[in-house]
């Protein structure tokens, strides 16, 4: 955006926060005592946090081949020089806005998987994101890979939580879905309205698939709010950025030992066909700052070694600039961060000259990453979730 200097969506949330809080009857401070109504997650149980970057993040200006002459020549006005990056090794560097990730790298807590995509990458935002979120590049299916992880376990609205108001396809399985929580926490009615509202949550023989979902969403609200509501009410998000606020919520839930194994958060704004240098730099700075602060928050708790964060986008972008930005491309780096992560590079940086159909080659299949997270963080058999995908990367050090 060239002339407008605020994010409207952000502004709406900000301006509305004061006005709307008093609208419905809400839980009182004494309800906080109910926070332990479900069994807490034992310390030492690994937790996965998935960060989705919507829009197709330009991998070459994220993990930057800043000394590569092709990179410099193909991106006049858009290449980052030595003074604008944080050098790592092997001629690669982080975008200079990602100082927090630079520190994680130095501390050996950041894995960077290079050249990640899937066979025959698709350049449509929506198709490619669907492929990443379903975890199924070949066969078109409708369940998310985390949703299928949930399918193999008993129903529990706490097991996977996304921070947003609409359901992310990532958490939608064949039989089970994860729960969605708003940043501002959960407030439910009290008294007779609560009792009668919960009657609406029971199932009915007259239900269609969707009226059954609607009834479940009411039931989930009441079940979740008893535990999650007081936690979030006591510790409202303190970060300024949208991703930071989502991760504040996740950090507070983790600290309160809410029994959740998978969290999903997201940030949009990576579709940088124009004005890329400033837009992407700002967004990547937010990603790096928010995740670093989140890991520091949980790092100060007994759960310090439990949390693993993955950051991905639906595709990278073209090698050459289109003038002020870049058009849709293929492979890009994926970040995995946390105390239990063996830091360093994985996979191979694609060549900028040996292109495939004019785009970066795919050197790592994302299913090798998913398999590692399913097996070594969530402790489940990846083959069941990933249609018998046979291989995985060894990124997690304490893998059993």
């Amino acid at each position: 955006m060239s002339t407008c200097d605020f994010s409207r969506r952000q502004f709406l949330k900000y301006t509305g926060a004061a006005g709307a809080a008093s609208i419905a009857p809400t839980l009182t401070a004494s309800d906080v005592a109910q926070a332990a109504t479900v069994a807490p997650l034992p310390v030492g149980t690994p937790i996965l946090v998935i960060v989705t970057l919507y829009g197709g993040n330009d991998g070459l200006n994220t993990v930057v081949p800043y000394t590569d002459s092709t990179y410099i020549a193909q991106r006049p006005g858009l290449s980052l020089g030595a003074s604008e990056v944080i050098p790592l090794s092997d001629g690669l560097a982080l975008n200079g806005t990602m100082t927090g990730f630079g520190s994680l790298w130095t501390a050996n807590k950041l894995a960077i998987v290079l050249g990640v995509s899937y066979p025959q990458p698709n350049l449509s935002h929506f198709t490619s994101m669907a492929i990443w979120q379903t975890g199924s590049p070949v066969e078109e299916i409708s369940s998310g890979w985390i949703g299928r992880y949930l399918d193999n376990l008993p129903h529990d609205p706490f097991r996977a939580i996304g921070i947003d108001s609409t359901l992310t396809p990532l958490l939608a399985g064949e039989h089970r879905v994860g729960s969605m929580l708003p940043i501002s926490g959960l407030q439910v009615p009290t008294g007779s309205l609560a009792t009668q509202m919960q009657l609406l949550a029971s199932s009915s023989r007259q239900d269609t698939a969707l009226t059954a979902d609607a009834a479940d969403s009411i039931g989930d609200l009441f079940q979740l709010s008893a535990t999650v509501g007081p936690v979030l009410k006591n510790a409202p998000p303190s970060s300024a950025s949208p991703l930071g606020q989502q991760l504040d919520v996740v950090g507070n839930l983790i600290t309160a030992n809410v029994p959740t194994r998978v969290y999903s958060v997201s940030l949009s704004g990576f579709d940088t066909h124009s004005d890329e240098l400033s837009a992407q730099g700002t967004a990547l700075g937010q990603v790096s700052d928010a995740i670093t602060a989140f890991l520091a928050q949980v790092g100060a708790t007994p759960r310090a070694n439990d949390v693993v964060v993955m950051v991905y986008s639906e595709f990278g972008r073209r090698v050459a600039t289109n003038g002020s930005g870049t058009d849709h491309g293929t492979s890009a780096p994926v970040f995995i961060a946390g105390n239990s992560v063996a830091g360093g590079f994985y996979g191979e940086q694609p060549s900028l000259t040996q292109l495939v159909d004019g785009d970066l080659a795919v050197t790592t299949d994302f299913r090798d990453i998913y398999a590692a997270l399913l097996s070594d963080v969530l402790g489940t058999d990846p083959k069941k979730v990933l249609n018998n995908w046979p291989t995985k990367l060894n990124i997690i050090t304490n893998a059993s």
Partner: protein
């Protein structure tokens, strides 16, 4: 005596092809029988008496932002206020219309050509686009598409500004084929690039919304798109792509999925109905489909659809609510605010809206609306008749036994009763 399947079909007609009944309308239409009711719901009037009460605020060209800090702050505050008031104006139209079919179609097309004020920034270009979509909402798709490739807001949104003979930008070319006209898989990467060249040359005045063609920025060389080589420009390329048979299939399927359901496939003959790209003929065929009477073909209401239908039932004009900012915040919290789709792909649908998070905000918003709405349809009947009366009031074909049990416990308190009814699964979902 009307049958259960008549109630179901009429409920689908009023909720999917309109925005739900005004008080008394469902029972009245039911009495006239389905064919007459359908004809009325699909009718268009040159002058809709419901819109007499509509107040249209001016959305002037804001011009460049002043540099003085105080003036600049006032300028951006006004820009922000207009971004809310243009949405309130549109929702007023949806609520006030006696014949909301055209408005409903405009709403569908907004989700199809999804353009966001989050990037466009100014209300005026969005309002102009909205009028364009309304003008063509039931017209010919080729005319609509031709108008849209020259629409300032759409061009700005998809970086058409940056797309010139010297530095082609593929954003508009790709989304035009993928999302607006053909569907993914019906073109190659080379087609995308060549289409981008044909779309070069437009500049947009961001505050007025005016799109201007600048010949020196346009690539006049012949390009090859989908097997045809000629010196296309935006208009001729739009015409050519819309004339492709894949376009008829794509639009027919999309409309079927949004008005009937994604759970069943459209009849194979449906694309044939769209042969001449006549939108009115296509949507009328869909509205008359036997699937409209088939049980289980349900659809979830999106937050705006739910809010507008609740306002119609409660006789609330959205812009007169005490705080447009609160309304905007609550709708945004549920995930949907007009003119602000999350991406060019538009909004999600069905189960995506049925989450614990959105349920919470729906309860909040119902509570808020009931402080300002009219409940005569409930208060004017005996307690023993309230449950039945509420089904007619809201256009619900049949309450489940679960919901009846809940409503029967709230007969003494019409506000609580209405909260339960408006948040019930049967009202959230068009069964």
């Amino acid at each position: 005596m009307t049958s259960a399947s008549d109630r179901l079909e009429l409920s689908r007609l009023v909720h999917r092809f309109g925005f739900g009944p005004k008080p008394g309308q469902y029972a009245e239409l039911l009495g006239r029988g389905i064919p007459a009711a359908r004809a009325q719901i699909l009718a268009r009037r040159p002058h809709d008496p419901g819109l007499n009460a509509l107040v249209t605020p001016p959305f002037p060209d804001m011009g460049p932002a002043p540099s003085d800090p105080t003036a600049s702050h006032a300028y951006w505050t006004e820009v922000y206020n207009q971004s809310i008031s243009v949405a309130m104006w549109w929702m007023d139209r949806m609520v006030l219309a006696d014949y909301p079919f055209e408005e409903r179609m405009t709403w569908f097309w907004h989700g199809h050509w999804a353009t966001s004020i989050n990037k466009v920034s100014f209300a005026r270009p969005m309002k102009i686009q909205n009028e364009t979509l309304r003008k063509h909402a039931l017209g010919n798709f080729a005319d609509m598409s031709r108008a849209m490739v020259q629409d300032g807001a759409l061009i700005y949104w998809l970086d058409g500004e940056e797309n010139s003979v010297w530095s082609p930008n593929e954003n508009l070319g790709r989304e035009f084929m993928e999302l607006f006209t053909l569907g993914v898989g019906h073109y190659s990467q080379n087609d995308v690039h060549q289409a981008a060249l044909a779309f070069t040359g437009y500049q947009v005045n961001q505050t007025s919304g005016a799109a201007t063609f600048l010949a020196k920025q346009h690539d006049f060389k012949p390009v090859s798109v989908l097997g045809k080589t000629r010196a296309f420009d935006a208009r001729t390329l739009s015409d050519y792509i819309v004339s492709r048979p894949e376009n008829a299939t794509f639009i027919a399927r999309r409309m079927w999925f949004r008005f009937i359901s994604t759970s069943i496939e459209p009849p194979s003959s449906l694309a044939k109905v769209f042969e001449n790209r006549d939108i009115s003929q296509l949507i009328t065929t869909i509205a008359k489909s036997p699937a409209m009477r088939r049980p289980g073909v349900s659809q979830a209401k999106s937050p705006v659809e739910w809010f507008v239908s609740a306002c119609r039932a409660l006789r609330i004009t959205p812009s007169t609510l005490p705080s447009s900012g609160d309304v905007a915040w609550m709708l945004d919290s549920m995930g949907q605010f007009p003119f602000n789709p999350p991406s060019v792909g538009g909004w999600p649908y069905d189960e995506a809206w049925l989450t614990a998070a959105s349920t919470q905000y729906r309860i909040d918003m119902t509570w808020y609306l009931l402080q300002h709405g009219h409940l005569e349809p409930l208060t004017s009947v005996a307690k023993g008749k309230m449950v039945e009366a509420a089904a007619d009031w809201l256009g619900v074909p049949q309450w489940s036994t679960r919901t009846e049990r809940s409503l029967n416990q709230a007969l003494s308190d019409p506000v609580r009763f209405a909260t339960l009814a408006l948040c019930s699964p049967e009202y959230l979902v068009s069964a």
